[in-house]
Each structure stands twice: as C-alpha cells, then as structure tokens.
C-alpha cells in the first residue's frame, strides 16, 4: 500500500488518539545519518547544517517518519563545563567531567545560543524545519537531568553519591534540570519537538530505587514543564527498564520508548496509559541479514500494532553508525508491509 499521509499528519493523528493510515516508523536514526550522507561523524555533530542535511538525506533514503536531531547525551554537560574530545569518525568522548574541576555552585546554566555545541543543535533544527518541517516532525533529543548529572561527574563517584550524598546528587540533578529547561525553550522556538532521553537512568545502570529517587522526579518535572506547552512528550530510556515499567507512567510522559524489555510485558503494563515506542534490537540491525530483520520486525509490529493507546515502530536504541543501509531499509520496509490501520 502507498502512504496516504505525510509523517507530520501521521504523528499528529497518533497523539490525538486517532489511528493514522499506518503506524509511525521512527527508528532512532541519529548519527547513522552521517553514514548515509557520506560524512565524517565529527562533521555531523559539530555543524548544525551538516547534521540537518545528513538527517534529510536519511529521510530521503529510508522514508521513515521523523528527523532526529541528536548525536550524544553529553551535550548539555559539555555546555556546563565537561570536556570532550572529538574523534574524526566517532562520537565525542568525555575526558574531564565538569565536577572534577569545579564545584556545583560554579557551574552555570548554559546559554543554548552560544555555549559548546548547543547552537549546533539549534541550527540543525532551524535548517531541517525550513526544509521539511511541514511534512516531517523534527524530534530533538534532550538529555534528561539525571543523565546530564552523571555526565557532569565521575560516574563511579556519582553512583556512590546516590547512596551516600543524596542532597548533593539532588542539587546536581536540579541544576541539570534547569539547563534542560533552558535548552527546551530554544528548541521549541526553533521548531523541534523535545524528546527526553535518559539512558543513564536505565535499570542496566542504576537500581530501581535510585531511579525512583532521582531520575523519575526530574523526568516528571521536565515533562510537566513541556506539558505547559501542550506538547506530547516522548521519554526514551535505553537498556533494560523491566524493573521500572510500572512506575514509568508516573513520569507523565505521553509516549514511552523502550529498549531491552519484553514488548508484550510492556504492552500489558503500559499500553492503557501511554503510547509505546520500540523496540527492535539494534545489534540485530548491525549484524543480521535483511531477510531475518524483516521477519523479526514483522513479528514485533504485529504484536504491538494494536496497543491500546497507540504504537510507534522503532529501534530500542540508536541505529549503529555503521549499520548496513540495507538492514535499516529492511526494518522500514517491513513495517510498511504490515503496519497498516487503514485498509
């Protein structure tokens, strides 16, 4: 079948509880777009126009349903003083966390228009929005406060602090929340729909107790802030979130993007409260064959398509930078074969 709606129209119907022509397809094509464009990864994440052009090239190639303005989760922490190196063909690598050199009180709330690479994101949003904002949503990934807090710190020390120095952790998270909100103001004004990503709050990294104590309240504050704008908020947490599935609706997010979780379990626990996004295994995307991918994606979509509040077919995590393009194409094609609501 041929598409009847544009990606923008399709997403617009989903978020008002209407069934679109087919399910939205939003694999997390982030820095992989550099590969599609034949661009060095560093050129992608250090230049907004490059990032947008690579994203547009990926849309042209795969015809999926969202632009994804993102490279890695350190962007806010970097703008707050954490130091990164920029390898030519890989994502930035953190060298020195800001809190190794300064105290929390000395860390300022960054200005998205001039600090570190935040302007790269804003430029990318503006460019992509001008180019195809009428037909494709411009998703912009905002590192959640807990993840930024850990990126400001030595991770081992931070994890110990979550047990022994809760007030310090709370103040780092609060400051990270203020920075995230400041970035969101600018992202929204540029035309981007913020999607909150909190990979370091995953149960693969921290305990459910730590999640509930620090990450969840700060996610909720950020979601509530975005709800003032009446935006539909996506929360993505990579890795295993099975132990915290029950509490995810307490974040108030409208759409929850899952990774290493049994999809049926997620549907049982979440689908009457939120729309579900997920969750094809990205390692399969890197190492499997198009035929296997097609079959697995078909199974995934058939099982999730009629989730009560709606479903978006996506990868569980970012599409690997060097994933074979025919594999990504197989993912998209497979959803387009079976993901129809209007027949």
């Amino acid at each position: 079948m041929n598409d009847i709606l544009t990606s923008r129209e399709r997403f617009g119907l989903l978020v008002i509880d209407e069934k679109p022509d087919r399910c939205n397809i939003m694999p997390l094509i982030t820095s992989h777009a550099a590969t599609v464009k034949g661009m060095k990864v560093r050129d992608y994440y250090t230049n907004g126009e490059n990032m947008a052009r690579a994203q547009i090239a990926a849309i042209d190639k795969y015809e999926h349903d969202a632009i994804s303005i993102f490279s890695e989760v350190g962007i806010i922490a970097e703008a707050m003083g954490s130091e990164f190196e920029y390898p030519e063909n890989d994502l930035p690598i953190q060298r020195t966390p800001a809190l190794e050199k300064k105290d929390i009180e000395e860390i300022k709330i960054p200005s998205p228009t001039c600090d570190a690479r935040l302007p790269v994101y804003l430029e990318a949003i503006e460019y992509a929005y001008d180019a195809l904002g009428d037909r494709v949503p411009i998703l912009t990934y905002i590192p959640a406060p807990f993840t930024t807090a850990m990126m400001l710190s030595d991770p081992n020390k931070f994890l110990i602090q979550t047990i022994k120095e809760s007030s310090r952790v709370e103040s780092i998270v609060d400051r990270s929340l203020a920075a995230a909100i400041e970035l969101c103001y600018h992202v929204i004004d540029a035309g981007g729909l913020p999607i909150i990503v909190d990979p370091l709050a995953s149960s693969s990294v921290v305990s459910p107790k730590t999640y509930r104590q620090y990450a969840l309240p700060s996610e909720r504050k950020l979601v509530d802030f975005l709800h003032r704008y009446d935006l539909d908020v996506i929360l993505h947490i990579c890795g295993d979130t099975s132990p915290i599935l029950d509490v995810l609706p307490q974040t108030h997010a409208d759409l929850i993007s899952i990774d290493r979780v049994n999809m049926q379990q997620a549907i049982d626990k979440l689908s009457s409260a939120v729309r579900i996004i997920g969750n094809y295994d990205t390692s399969r995307l890197a190492f499997s064959t198009p035929d296997d991918i097609k079959a697995e994606v078909r199974n995934m979509v058939e099982g999730a398509l009629h989730a009560k509040q709606g479903y978006i077919a996506a990868t569980g995590c970012e599409v690997p930078i060097k994933a074979p393009e025919e594999n990504v194409m197989a993912f998209v094609d497979s959803v387009k074969e079976v993901g129809w609501y209007w027949v």
């Binding site: 209407e18 704008y229 935006l231």
Partner: protein
Amino acid sequence: MYQDLTPEKIGLKEWSKQFRMVGDSEIKEFKYYNNDEWGIYLSPPATFMVYGTRQLKKLKFDNSLAALRLWGFTFNESERLFRARQSGKRIIAAMGDLGTVPVIAMAFPDCIPFYPDCTWWTPFFNESTVLLDKASELGTPEASCFVRSTLAAFHKMAYFPKPDIMFASTGASCDDYSCIMQMAEEMGYELNWLEIPFRRQHRSFHMSEEHAVTDSGFKYPKRFETYLVNEYKRVWRKMEALTGTGDLKKLNASIEKNNRVRRLVNDIKDLTQTADVAPFPALEMMVIEFGNLYGYADIDEWLDILKMIKDTVADRVEKGIGILPSDAVPLAWVTPTADPLLLNIVEDLGGRVVATEYVINQALTIIEEDIEPFQALARSFMNASLIGSTEERVRQIAGSVDSGKIAGVIITNMLGCSHCAMETRLIEEKLKNVPVLAIDVPAPLGITEQLKTRITAFIEMLR
C-alpha cells in the same frame, strides 16, 4: 494572575518569553468542551509551530492574553473536531453557504458544525504545498483556487474527521468551490446539496411581485426567501433524521446564541475601526470575523473568548492605546487575504485596516428573533456577499469612502480563482473615487520583495 503588558504586536519568540509569566492555573482555566483531560488550549504560537504551522515563525501577534486565547483556540480546531467525534458528538460539514447551516445544526444536541472549505487557509498557515500537490494529484486543475486543498483534506482525513452529514451550497455560489465538492462526492462522500438563489433586483415594472429588502436597502423578490426557507427546512429534516430529534425552540435558542456572537463581533469591529489608535491587529480581527461562521466548533467557548477580547479592546480604546502608530493610513480590505502574512505586512508598512468585505456579510448580519426562525435565517442570508451584484457587495465600502474614513482600498485576488478574480476588476471600477491596490495572492511562500514594494508605494502615495 497574568497582567497584559503595553499593547504591541510581537513575534513567536517574544510570545514564548511572555508565556513564562502565564500561570499553570490560567493555562488550565481555558478549555474547549469544558474538558479537563484534553480540552486545554492556551499555548503559545510556538506549540502550533512545532506541530507544523510554519508561518507562525513569521507572523506577529497581539500580546494580550485574550489574543493568546484566540490563537490557541483556533489552532486547536482540528484536534477539537476529532475529540468531538471521540466523545460521541456528531460532526456536521457545512460548505459554501458560510454562516447559516451551522445555526440550524447547532439546534440539535451534540452536533458540531464546521467548514471543511476553511482548509483554504491551511497551505498558507503551514507554508506548505502538501495539500495543493495532493489536490493536483487527485485531478483538480491548478487553475482552480486554494479551495482545492479541501479535496486533499477529504482524501487524507487527517485535518477533520469524516463528517456524519454534509451540506453543500450550489447555485449562486462559487464555481471553483462547487467543482471541488462535486469531486468530493465522486470520492464517495454523500453530499446534501442546497441551492442558493441569485439575489437579483426586484423589477419595478413588476409591482405585483412581492419584494423584500436587505439590511443595506436592496430590493429583491420575496419568493427567493421562500425558496431558501424550503431549502433550510430540508436541512432541518435531514438533521432530524440524523439525530432522531428536532425542537424548533432550540432553533430559536441557536439563533439567539449566534446573534450574541454576531453582536459581540460587531461591537469589537466598531471599537477597533473607530478608535483613534488601532487597538487590535487586522489579522486577529479577520480571525474574529470568520468565527461568526460556526464559532470554531465550540460556540460557547468562542463566546467567552469574544467577551474577553471585547474587554481588552474596550480597555485599550478607553486608554487611547493600541498596536499601530496614530498616523497609520486607513484602508479597506476587500476579499479575505488567503495568506495571513499580508495583513501583517500591510500594517508593518504603515497601513491600518478600518473596513472589511471578506465575503461573509451574511454571517455578520443579525438574525431577526421575532419572526418564524427559517424565515429569519433566509432573510439574514439574503444579505450574503457572493449572491448578488458587485455593486451591492462593495456598497458599504463605497459609503465609507464617501464619508472620508478610508484613504485607499486593498483587494486580494487569489491565484487560480475564477470567481473572485473576475470580480476584482469590477470592484476596482465601482470604487473609482478612491485609490485601489489589487494584490494577486501568490501560492504559499510566494510573497516577494516586489509585492512589498508595491504595498509600500501604495501606502506612501496615500500618505
């Protein structure tokens, strides 16, 4: 509590900053269909821009809370219609008559009328050719006007839900629009056609023929009213069949409610057009006038918004403050702009709109409340802009010209429009006593520096 600042027109980013001062409780206070869960609509322009209404990045808006409410409410209409359907209301498509069928539809419980043909504006607000391209693909020629985007919307069913019943005018109506509706019918939509009589002059040599008179004093044969009464009764019967109810007292109540809207709008227009300093922008005023057609699918909330706007405007008039310089050049605007940006541009270049003829005169007319309701609807509709001669259409504007209120007239002329394109030349002729600038409205994103230069030169010449 949010306090309005000194009146001015501000851009999207300024509104986002100002929105930080709006309290959570105020956001929750305003809701359509009185629904707490999904009825909240008070958002800054940035929200709607994020969802694809791209022109909001360029437009300037009034900075009052009343204007914010107006924009939030109108941009929420598509969602509102879907929510109406989800909550069990019936969706009534009224097309082409612009202002009367919705009054009938509102007399039935939980019936929400709207105008699919208002998708006419969407390519401009979205700065997008998505709908126009799809309409071409579906077979409408590019030589038809922007109303063809309605056909694409019927195909996509993403801009409004499938209506439960559809009424479409024909006869003394626009041919471009009628053709589009015929194509919608071919797509499988069931249309109930409603024939509109042409308002011709009552012939003085035929004195035995009873006549009636429009609000502006034009005499026409009374049998046209009778004809319309029968057409409206047909609409009524269809609505009865759809809903299983029908209470004429409710029609009287609907007329009374719609008149409240019309009176409020007339008051706001009077205040705005006669004040020394323009208290409210032309763009918002156009949106207000068009609300008379159907109350943007929630007439009760719309009434409340209008009251707030009237208070805001009255307060500004009393204080002698507004959004344009006091020496702005007074203009009349004939035919709606299609591209909203044009109204912004004309104001930015020194113009001020003090009279309008947006082809919806019938929706601005007060419906008589002391006669039989169908007769009252027919009599009010006989004031319609598009069903008579051009001279009639611009009589009011000509009157304002003669009384010296207007220095110049701008007429917008749509690309591909066969109906009003012809009329533009005639209007120019009828308004010989005043300088006229006719603007050919280009396709979305088509406003050029050359067009701005023409507007600048026109306003400077008037000055």
